[in-house]
Every structure is written in structure tokens, then in C-alpha cells.
């Protein structure tokens, strides 16, 4: 043990503490940055559109997807599929493998007429009598990390979506 003033035995290390104050202040700054990032939506659950709330359309605008880019492990979210210019009353929406392997679809509104999984794809068939209609998928990611899903609309148009799931 050091002796301070030749009498007080103490493990003080003032130069170290002084250097650590700088580290502390940097830490506070990082905390502030994390909070700002969260406010902008980089950590999911709300935030600015364009950062978290993503709207992505196929070239012909007949398939529009609205989803959250940043999601959280086992926290329910939703994916809205807007179908336009429908040429069939039994449109299909097809997702690649990740959508049923790493995500749990809890509910689909409206309820699909038929669901089939094969050849690394899941296909939902709906019954829509009008030329346009929305479908909402209530999803829950069951896997942390980035997820890449390919969505295929009724006219075989493809829209890739990518999400990041926080643990």
C-alpha cells in the first residue's frame, strides 16, 4: 500500500483516475449516440420512415411491401403486402425459405385460402374479388441476425427485403 502524507495508507491512484475520467466522458458520449440512434429508429420499434419503416415496391407498383427493417428477437411485428392491378381473383404471395424457417408467421389477415411449402418457398394463395387488396402478415422473428427474404407477387414480380433482428 502507498502512504499518503506518510500516514494514510490508501490504494489511491490519482493519475489513473484522472485518465479514467476521460474514458468516462467518452462513454457518456457513446451512450448519447446510442440513444440518438434508437430515437431515429436504428434499434427497431418505431423511428423515422426510411430508417426503420421501409416501403418497397416492384417496378410496376403492383406489389408494395411495408415492413420494419430493424426487428427484435421474439417481438411481434407486421409486414403489409399491398397488391394492385390484380389480374386474378386467386393471387399468390410467395416467400423464400427464411420466411418460414427463421420467422414465425403468427397470423395472416385475410386468412389465406391455401398455404404450401415446397422447393424452398412458402406460397400463400388468397381469394380477393377486387383488383387490389392488402394482406397483413403478423410475424415474430425466431432468429437473431440479418434475414434476407425474397417476396414474389402474383405476376411473378420479385421484391427482396432485408431485415436485421436484434437479439
Amino acid at each position: 500500500m502507498n502512504k499518503h502524507n506518510g500516514e494514510l495508507e490508501i490504494d489511491e491512484d490519482a493519475p489513473f483516475e484522472k485518465r479514467f475520467w476521460t474514458v468516462q466522458r467518452i462513454g457518456w458520449l457513446i451512450m448519447l449516440l446510442v440513444i440518438l440512434a434508437a430515437m431515429f429508429g436504428f434499434t427497431g420499434r418505431g423511428g423515422l420512415s426510411g430508417i426503420n419503416k421501409i416501403k418497397k415496391a416492384s417496378q410496376s407498383q403492383s406489389l408494395v411491401l411495408e415492413y420494419d427493417r430493424f426487428q427484435r428477437y421474439q417481438v411481434s411485428d407486421k409486414l403489409t403486402v399491398k397488391l394492385q392491378q390484380l389480374q386474378t381473383t386467386a393471387p399468390t404471395i410467395t416467400f423464400s425459405k427464411v420466411f418460414y424457417e427463421k420467422i414465425r408467421v403468427e397470423q395472416v389477415v385475410p386468412q389465406p385460402e391455401k398455404v404450401e411449402i415446397n422447393a424452398n418457398e412458402i406460397t400463400y394463395t388468397f381469394s380477393i374479388s377486387q383488383p387490389s387488396g392488402d394482406v397483413i402478415f403478423y410475424t415474430k422473428p425466431m432468429h437473431a441476425g440479418s434475414l434476407e427474404v425474397m417476396v414474389k407477387g402474383p405476376n411473378n414480380e420479385r421484391v427482396p427485403i432485408s431485415m436485421f433482428v436484434y437479439p
Binding site: G41, T43, R45, P167
Partner: protein
């Protein structure tokens, strides 16, 4: 975004409610008070988290709460009067052997509480052995004994 707002709202709400309720409310004088404090913390936690049990949610909330606390302490340091509003000040309850009954009544402290602190901190028997009794910011009562030799 949602997470940060939840954290901030609950932080400010608790700050106000604890300040308003008074120093001695919920001060763990009995086990019951202590349990009550725990229950309040538990209840708050549920309101904070909702049904989002992800790690990132927990970590964001902790960062929010601690960051707000650091900011509050920096503001308190800069503006002393703000610190007074937030934390309150110490308050003398027993002044040179004289009980200040009006203050004790307002702060809901009685002679027994002062004697309890006197026993716990200095092993004193009577009020007459106490020079000052002070109600601290956290609800504790500190005691300055009279010098014996004099």
C-alpha cells in the same frame, strides 16, 4: 424510439413522485416499507418493458435510465438551486438539545425515530445526549452527540 421514450417518461415520473411523497415515505424503517419499494420497482419494470423481452430492449432501457441520471447529476452540479428542488436539503430536527416539533410534524418524524438513530449510530440513551439531529436527503436521521468531557 419507443423504448427510449418509455424510459424517459418513467424516469421523470418516478423522480417527481418520490420527491412529492416526502423523504420519510417509503424510507425503509420497517420491512414492509422495503417490500413496498421492491414492489414499486417491479411494477415499473413491467411498464417499461411491455412484452418486449429482447436483450436490446433491456440494454437500451438501462442506458436511457443511467444516461438521464448522469445528465440530472450534471445539471444539479451546475445549478445548485435545481439540485435543491430535485433532492431537497438536509433539515435540522433537533437543534442544540431543542426538538423542532413543527418540522418533525411536517416531515412525519417523531422522537422515537431520532432516538432509534441515536442508539444505532452512537449508542446514546437520552435525547439530552444529542446535540443535533439532522434529517438527511435520503430520509435517514444523523446524530451529532454532545461532547461528554465538556
Amino acid at each position: 424510439m419507443d423504448t427510449i421514450f418509455r424510459g424517459a417518461i418513467i424516469y421523470i415520473f418516478l423522480l417527481i413522485i418520490f420527491r412529492i411523497s416526502g423523504k420519510r415515505t417509503l424510507y425503509d424503517a420497517t420491512l414492509f416499507d422495503f417490500v413496498l419499494l421492491l414492489i414499486i420497482a417491479e411494477t415499473t419494470q413491467q411498464a417499461l418493458l411491455g412484452d418486449d423481452f429482447s436483450i436490446v430492449n433491456g440494454l437500451l432501457l438501462i442506458i436511457t435510465l443511467i444516461f438521464m441520471d448522469i445528465c440530472l447529476s450534471l445539471i444539479k452540479q451546475k445549478f445548485k438551486s435545481f439540485g435543491k428542488v430535485v433532492d431537497g436539503t438536509s433539515l435540522i430536527l433537533l437543534d442544540n438539545g431543542k426538538l423542532l416539533t413543527e418540522r418533525m410534524k411536517k416531515e412525519r418524524v417523531d422522537e422515537g425515530d431520532i432516538l432509534e438513530s441515536a442508539r444505532a449510530l452512537h449508542g446514546l440513551e437520552h435525547l439530552s445526549q444529542i446535540k443535533y439531529a439532522i434529517l438527511e436527503k435520503d430520509g435517514k436521521i444523523t446524530i451529532i452527540p454532545k461532547e461528554k468531557a465538556s
